[in-house]
């Protein structure tokens, strides 16, 4: 199979835009009100060791993706069971992200348009992106990233041109350590540890680039942007309003008025959300297509991108009956527990087996060297 290469810089940006994805509209976790910005940092600290494990897996097998590693480590049968589970996670996550965006578009602006139409029109761009390959996705993410940065910076600056709302950040650290721990675990699984999907095409990283550097830089950039977004939302909305908003970032930016001449800047924020939604779903679709390609021993993942993208849309339509159930699935901890199987348990298993196998290979090589 042909392997396309992506430079380290583009991979960092692609990882960051993926992590920002739907979190930027759902505004991360809002359970802790004025302290929710703290969990953005603690969540990143939690995910640090897991990301190191992902990078180590990539370092042990630089020319293979996680599906090929599974087949190599666990044989054809168990390897394919893991591939199936992983492909399902990528497909399901893609459907969840799509649903977040269609709900957002319906609630914020297009109340009369059926969600299926919104999803299908988004999906046309997404499958075109996947069919164009990883290299194109890297270039696309670079463009999206600068737009996002610009919008986040502008909205942050404008949000503080009027009244000084920094009092909304007080009382500082007014929650128990247990509450902080649980809330940072939410942010651990959504969005930080979702980068596990990148293991499905990390072998596309240009030779000589350090996977540790790529993962850690991306984590740091994402944390900074989410922190700015969280502080903007808290200062504009206040803790109580933040807790009851479905889409805090959108509600917050609606309040930004610069004098009487620059209003309704939520329009540019909406563009931001759609661009990120497309990027995140494209990565999920790519991971699913690659998984199914390995599951059925196909030649090219691009050939099956369209039917799988339609299947993802169908799944997105049936995955939740309404927006309340959508938020409940995320906030009641179901998603965290469900995702930890794919984000922690499976990668941990792969890493342990890979280390054992690697150690045996080194021992074997040393013995052969001694004999000679």
């Amino acid at each position: 199979m042909l392997t396309e290469t992506v430079s380290g810089k583009k991979m960092i940006i692609l990882l960051s835009t993926f992590m920002l994805g739907s979190t930027i509209i759902l505004g991360g976790s809002t359970v802790l009100g004025q302290d929710s910005w703290v969990s953005v940092i603690t969540g990143a600290l939690w995910v640090f060791p897991i990301v190191i494990i992902y990078a180590r897996i990539v370092q042990l097998y630089p020319n293979k993706n996680i599906y090929e590693i599974c087949l190599d480590l666990f044989g054809n049968f168990f390897g394919k069971v893991i591939i199936f589970l992983f492909s399902w996670y990528a497909l399901h996550l893609g459907a969840l992200v799509l649903r977040n965006f269609s709900e957002f578009i319906q609630i914020s602006s297009k109340a009369e348009t059926p969600q299926i139409i919104v999803l299908l029109s988004m999906m046309v761009v997404i499958f075109y992106l996947v069919k164009s390959g990883i290299k194109t996705m890297g270039r696309w993410s670079l463009l999206v990233f600068w737009v996002i940065c610009l919008v986040v910076i502008i909205s942050f600056i404008f949000s503080h041109t009027g009244a000084d709302n920094f009092d909304n950040l007080l009382p500082f650290l007014n929650h128990t350590p247990g509450e902080f721990l649980i809330d940072s675990f939410y942010l651990f699984s959504f969005p930080y540890a979702e980068v596990v999907l990148f293991l499905t095409f990390f072998n596309s990283l240009q030779r000589g680039e350090s996977p540790y550097k790529v993962f850690l830089y991306a984590l740091f950039i994402t944390m900074i942007i989410l922190l700015v977004v969280a502080i903007r939302n808290i200062t504009l909305l206040g803790p109580e309003m933040l807790k009851i908003s479905f889409f805090p970032s959108y509600v917050a930016t609606r309040l930004i008025n610069v004098g009487k001449f620059l209003t309704k800047i939520e329009g540019i924020v909406m563009i931001n959300f759609i661009l990120l939604g497309i990027t995140k779903t494209a990565v999920c679709l790519l991971a699913t297509c690659k998984g199914i390609t390995h599951l059925f021993d196909l030649k090219d993942y691009k050939a099956i991108a369209i039917p799988i993208s339609f299947f993802m849309v169908a799944l997105a339509m049936i995955v939740y009956p309404n927006v309340i159930e959508m938020l409940e699935f995320a906030e009641r901890g179901y998603y965290c527990v469900y995702a930890s199987l794919f984000q922690v348990i499976i990668p941990l298993l792969i890493w342990i087996v890979a280390e054992i196998k690697n150690k045996k290979i080194i021992e074997l090589k040393t013995t052969i060297h001694k004999v000679h």
Binding site: I116, K299, I304, I306, F310, I318
Partner: protein, 69 residues
């Protein structure tokens, strides 16, 4: 209207993507492509005519309920 959009999209895909794949004569790709295309069409057709389908999230929730509680 929604049904018309779905059917139109599938016709476009069949013409520009499915027929070229058939011409390539890749058997495995053809089987996987056809299976996903048919399943997704049936699902989207049922959704377009407002039939409520069971959600996989309910199954995941019922499996995780003992851990969450």
């Amino acid at each position: 209207m929604v049904l018309a959009v779905v059917i139109f999209l599938y016709l476009v895909v069949a013409f520009f993507d499915y027929i070229p794949l058939i011409k390539k004569k890749e058997k495995k790709e053809f089987v996987v492509y056809t299976t996903f295309l048919i399943i997704s069409f049936i699902l989207l057709f049922l959704i377009a005519i407002d039939i409520v389908l069971p959600s996989p999230t309910n199954l995941i929730k019922s499996l995780l309920d003992p851990i969450i509680k």
